[in-house]
């Protein structure tokens, strides 16, 4: 979030609050928009994102659903077809598997199967990631799977600006857009200009310029990667840090241009290593920047194990700044 141009009045806020303000603004801006999901209303959102919105907008527009992931996601698709602009919240990516059929076989395919007649202007938000000791069934990072599917757009806001600004752009998009919010970011504090608003959603962002190595991350791992860059800077290594922001489409042009300058890259991803989104990024660099590379592209991903409950094991399973820095050093040694 450094490097933002001087803005009118800044206010200290959190990622959670930024998402909440974005939802509220969307509800105020378009009466076709409503929020639907488990415990978004009376409970206030499982991560307290929608707290207070029920009182302001009522139960029609802040719509608590039964525990029926497939049906309420499908109902969101149908409501979008019927002229609404729904925001469907799936509590976490872990439960999204129960709705995956609707997302892959209906939301992503309808426009195509209908020969261009039926687009699905739907936004699905969900929390993702590990770090809260919630163990094997509640710690997945499966956004990479969604990034595999033609017909979807997939976003991963990692900053307050993006948490605040991606939703409006996603809602304006005529296609189904998925937004992944990393659970460890909700409490992140920072400054946001008072007039913060919609942001572009197709491009990666260089969060830290550097000349020696390109570190590519998104969502929850961005901040670990920026921390690794600080460590490296202290050693005299200037890392460029790219925040993917959009996981589908991938902004491979920004990546290739950066690697063209630095000639080295490490991809960081909280998904399990094998079949991770990081693999795709590595393969893209292979295809688009092979002749620029001075060393093999490294990957820092989660260990190939269901996430264990105890903190020391959970942390050992996840990408950490030290491992990222080490992978960067390895590309420089090569």
């Amino acid at each position: 979030m450094s490097g933002a141009p001087a803005a009118p009045r800044n206010a200290t806020t959190t990622y959670r609050e930024a998402v909440r303000v974005a939802i509220r603004e969307a509800l105020l801006a378009d009466e076709r928009t409503f929020l639907m999901g488990e415990d978004v209303g009376h409970y206030g959102g499982c991560y307290a994102v929608s707290k207070g919105l029920l009182a302001e907008f009522g139960p029609e527009r802040i719509r608590d659903t039964p525990l029926s992931e497939s049906a309420f996601v499908g109902a969101g698709i149908g409501a979008a077809l019927g002229g609404m602009r729904p925001i469907v919240e799936i509590m976490t990516v872990n439960f999204s598997l129960l709705a995956l059929d609707q997302i892959v076989n209906t939301a992503a395919t309808l426009l195509h199967m209908s020969g261009g007649q039926f687009n699905v202007p739907l936004v699905i938000r969900m929390a993702t990631g590990a770090g809260r000791q919630l163990a094997a069934q509640h710690s997945h990072s499966l956004e990479g799977w969604y990034a595999h599917v033609p017909g979807l757009k997939v976003l991963a806001p990692a900053t307050l600006e993006d948490a605040r600004g991606m939703l409006a752009t996603a809602l304006a998009d005529p296609n189904p857009v998925l937004i992944f919010e990393h659970v460890m970011l909700y409490n992140m504090e920072g400054e946001l200009p008072a007039d913060a608003g919609a942001v572009e959603i197709g491009k990666a962002a260089i969060r830290r310029p550097g000349r020696d190595v390109t570190l590519i991350a998104y969502g929850g791992t961005l901040h670990k990667t920026l921390a690794a860059a600080e460590t490296l800077a202290a050693e005299g290594v200037e890392a460029e840090v790219i925040d993917l922001r959009s996981l589908r489409p991938l902004d491979t042009a920004t990546i290739a241009a950066s690697v063209g300058r630095t000639r080295r890259a490490v991809v960081v991803d909280e998904g399990w290593r094998t079949g991770s989104l990081a693999a795709e990024v590595s393969a893209q660099i292979m295809e688009q920047a092979f002749w620029s590379l001075d060393a093999p592209v490294g990957r820092v991903c989660s260990a190939e194990v269901p996430i264990p409950y105890p903190s020391h094991l959970e942390q050992a399973a996840l990408p950490q700044p030290e491992a990222i820095a080490a992978a960067a050093r390895a590309t420089l040694a090569g």
């Binding site: 049906a71 309420f72 109902a75 149908g78 309808l110 209908s114 020969g115």
Partner: protein
């Protein structure tokens, strides 16, 4: 479903002729499709509706233009009964770009914005949540529409059936659930798939009113659907119809039909919806043989025109392969 003033089916001669004509249009269209499949003009899966025509035709009588329809991979009948142009449907069967889905979908994915025909879904049970959402949109926007959602009795076992019925009933959404119980899901007989084979009783578990009707009797289906649609329009929430019917042909054209007796099929054919209704019409002199023949001739001509249209259609250029994946923003 009582209490609401249902539009009574009008047993006028023109209306009866319409019912027969609609069933015949589906029947002859599909018989031709089966031939075209043998000729390899149509490919992929082809699921024929033959035997079940009374259901789609009866139910559609209860729908208005602004209502919506969600169907399955066995949906030619619903599409035609709903009013899609037969040539566009046939061109879709061929995969030609003049097809109602530009040829991208084929037999299982018939779509049409003009008639609010939302497919054409090849995932068993997958259409039910969609129907719930369409009805939710109508309700939230204060529109009077009804969404009719067709599915087979096999779909009843899917979790999405349960979730969707509950959601529709809980939120009192204007959905007309129409279960076409043809006794088999591919080769699996109903008694092998449901502990409660009396399907319409399932609706009770959601406090949803339901009725069972002879799905081989187009007049009965229409009457029941009119009642149900009226109840929905009167704000009485979703309604459930179980239509007892039978598929005369194989599940798809790959099916060797090992799971049922020829005799059983023949017995059902004696109750065929067209046979029975046609006989009733002529026996009661509601329609003359000559009128029936005239309808048959018109339908035959319509089917041949549809085939000619499809034959004359064009293939979407390969260069357009990746079109229709995302809609450009602002569209």
């Amino acid at each position: 479903m009582t209490g609401a003033t249902a539009k009574k089916p009008q047993l006028t001669r023109p209306h009866l002729a319409t019912l027969l004509r609609q069933m015949l249009r589906i029947r002859r269209f599909e018989e031709r499709c089966a031939e075209l499949y043998q000729q390899e003009k149509i490919r992929g899966f082809l699921h024929l509706y033959i035997g079940q025509e009374a259901v789609a035709v009866g139910v559609m009588q209860a729908l208005a233009p602004d209502d919506a329809v969600v169907a399955t991979y066995r949906e030619h009948g619903h599409a035609i009964a709903r009013g899609l142009a037969m040539p566009a449907v046939m061109a879709e069967m061929y995969g030609k770009q003049e097809g109602c889905s530009r040829g991208r979908g084929g037999s299982m994915h018939i779509f049409d914005a003009a008639t609010r025909f939302y497919g054409g879904n090849a995932i068993v049970g997958g259409g039910l949540p969609l129907a719930v959402g369409l009805a939710l949109a109508d309700k939230m926007q204060g529109r009077p529409g009804v969404t009719a959602c067709f599915f087979g009795e096999g779909a009843v076992a899917e979790g999405e059936f349960h979730e969707s019925l509950n959601l529709a009933a809980l939120w009192q959404l204007p959905v007309l659930f129409v279960c076409e119980n043809n006794l088999y899901a591919m080769g699996t007989a109903l008694r092998l798939s449901e502990s409660e084979t009396d399907i319409h009783r399932k609706a009770e578990g959601y406090r949803m009113p339901s009725e069972v009707v002879d799905g081989m009797d187009v007049v009965a289906v229409e009457a029941t659907a009119q009642r149900a649609a009226a109840a929905i329009r009167a704000g009485q929430g979703p309604q459930f119809l179980e239509c007892r019917t039978y598929r005369f042909r194989a599940h798809s054209l790959f099916d060797p039909e090992l799971y049922r007796d020829k005799a059983e099929v023949e017995a059902w054919k004696q109750h065929g919806p067209i046979l029975r209704f046609g006989n009733w019409l002529t026996e009661n002199e509601l329609l003359h043989e000559a009128e029936v023949r005239a309808i048959e001739d018109e339908v035959a001509a319509e089917v041949e025109a549809a085939v000619a249209f499809a034959e004359a259609g064009s293939w979407e250029p390969v260069e357009d392969l990746t079109k229709h994946v995302l809609l450009e923003s602002g569209a």
